[in-house]
């Protein structure tokens, strides 16, 4: 119940921020037409706020993973973000292998055969299919 109430509070805040700040800042005005550019986004901000109120008043139940899972998910997300940055700097060919290796290692894979297949053979196969067979470019 607490998670739903916190979620409800978040959506009230989100609705208010969208309505008062983000939408007026990010959506231009127009003086003509029945449906102006801001109309629907503002209506959706109101809907989000009202749903937030509904969740706070009548929470529907909790479904949350353990803190450990949250932390591990954040860790993997961080690795993926790092992999994206690395791809931008050195390209797919050099970034894919360390990225795949890191993911497999963090997923407790310790068998060198599978680590080799995942971090060397699979990136090589993808590179071959995309650049040689399909003749498309990779980052």
């Amino acid at each position: 119940m607490l998670t739903d109430r916190v979620t409800g509070g978040f959506f009230i805040l989100l609705g208010v921020v969208l309505y008062l700040w983000v939408i007026p800042w990010q959506v231009e005005t127009a003086d003509y037409g029945w449906l102006k550019p801001r109309t629907l986004p503002l209506a959706l901000a109101v809907v989000l706020g009202l749903c937030g109120v509904a969740l706070m008043v009548k929470p529907v139940g909790d479904a949350r993973p353990s803190t450990f899972n949250w932390l591990r998910a954040a860790l993997f997300a961080g690795v993926l973000a790092l992999g994206l940055w690395l791809m931008g700097v050195v390209g797919f060919v050099y970034a894919a292998s360390p990225l795949a290796f890191a993911v497999m290692w963090l997923a407790y894979e310790r068998r060198w055969l599978w680590l080799g297949l995942g971090s060397v053979v699979m990136p090589a196969v993808i590179w071959f299919v995309i650049t040689i067979v399909l003749e498309r470019t990779l980052p």
């Binding site: 986004p41 949350r64 795949a100 497999m104 995942g118 399909l134």
Partner: protein
Amino acid sequence: MPELAIILAGLGDAFTPANLFFVFAGVFVGQFVGAVPGIGPIMAMAIAIPFTFGMDPLAGIGFLVGVNKGGLVGGAIPAVLLNTPGTPDAAATALDGHPLAQQGKPLKATKMALYSSVTGDTFSDIVLITVSAPLALLALRMGPVEVFGLMLLAFAVISGLMGPSLVKGIIAIALGLLAAMVGTDPEHGTPRLYFGQFELYDGIPLPAIAIGMLAISELLRRLSESRREGNPAVRLPRGQPREDSMVSWHEYWACRFTLARGAVIGTLLGALPGIGSTAAAFMSYATTKQAARDPSSFGKGNIHGIAATESANSAVMGANMIPLLTLGIPGSVGAALIISAFMIHGIQPGPFLFDTQGRLIYGLFGAMLLANLGNLIIGQVGLRFWVRVVSAPESFIFASALLMCFVGVYLTSGGLFGIGVMLAFAALAYVMTTLGISVVIFIIAFFLGPRLEVSLSQTLALLNGDPTKLLNYPVGLVLALIALVTTVFLARRNHDRADQT
């Protein structure tokens, strides 16, 4: 209604060697990924969509249909062998499939799942082929007011039936529509919510959202739950009697009423947006158990239990295409992904499809029937091999899938920026799923957002500030009223459920 020559030409297109190859390849890939717990056909479709970019539209869409159909068959394998469904649809299959496998008959259980799946799927495909063109004719007579009413009805049904609560369903719709507002306003052409990122001027790319929210977020969830212990190994018993490793014609025929019931339930539920194949499988299982002479045998390896669930969950697939092809409304996430494949190839789904792309649509119907045949053939040969796939290490499969997601989005969504968008939406989807907010509703709302805004804008222009003019559009008015009644009904049902718990 397309002419007979177009229908025949379209069906003939499906049988060209290239299209045959891609449909069968899709089935092969689908069965493979369906057999791996945690991947499933939806993730496979999401990853495969960008790779269909360079293909002929029919080959690409036929490939995706093959993946979806093959995945439904493959998903039953881990359900039967490990009691770990490869797809949510197969959860009910495990109820009787796994006990049968424990009795030393894993191949019998998986083969019954295969035959039932092909039977249910073929039935719903025939219904789709028969009813979709006349329904599209009806849909063509709808104006903006009727389309807007229909959208409201679709949102009411989807928000109430998908996911755990109506409020959270509405939140998912609002978030999906807000995401759809990013880019250029359809009426005035002014930029909205793009935060100075010119890559977002044309809106958030659908492949980045679909792959991020469906594939990457699921991979993050599975990776975060990975533990040091790997999958249990699966061994097929050797030297078992032939009748324990096959399904005889007599056994199949004895299940005919169960199969027919499952196929009808799956087709009916599949034609309604938002209900999904998991609900169909459990409903079919429950009705079969109720109708059985010996209900106590269910859950202990009764072959009728497998027939009921697999025929129903597979029948949903073809029926899901009815609202997609006739109204442009995706009934499920699989249908939403097929829509994104249509759009990648520059084809706008909806009732005009039968007029503008009649040959392609009938080619698609041919590909669907071929995929059923492919499921049967590849399943017969491959079941023993897929059983081995269940034991492949998740770490290898997940790392490979991640790399393919990166490459796929890079190819279709504007380079590295698209991958960044994909990761951002993956994180959003992870949080949403954790909080019980449906990602599938978000994606459907994101897809329907632009059409909703255009139809609302046109409706307001037609009404010209006078709400009484709505009386001139009785169909639209009735659809909007049904949407309102549906919302109130589902809200009260949720309220009653909450009180009971």
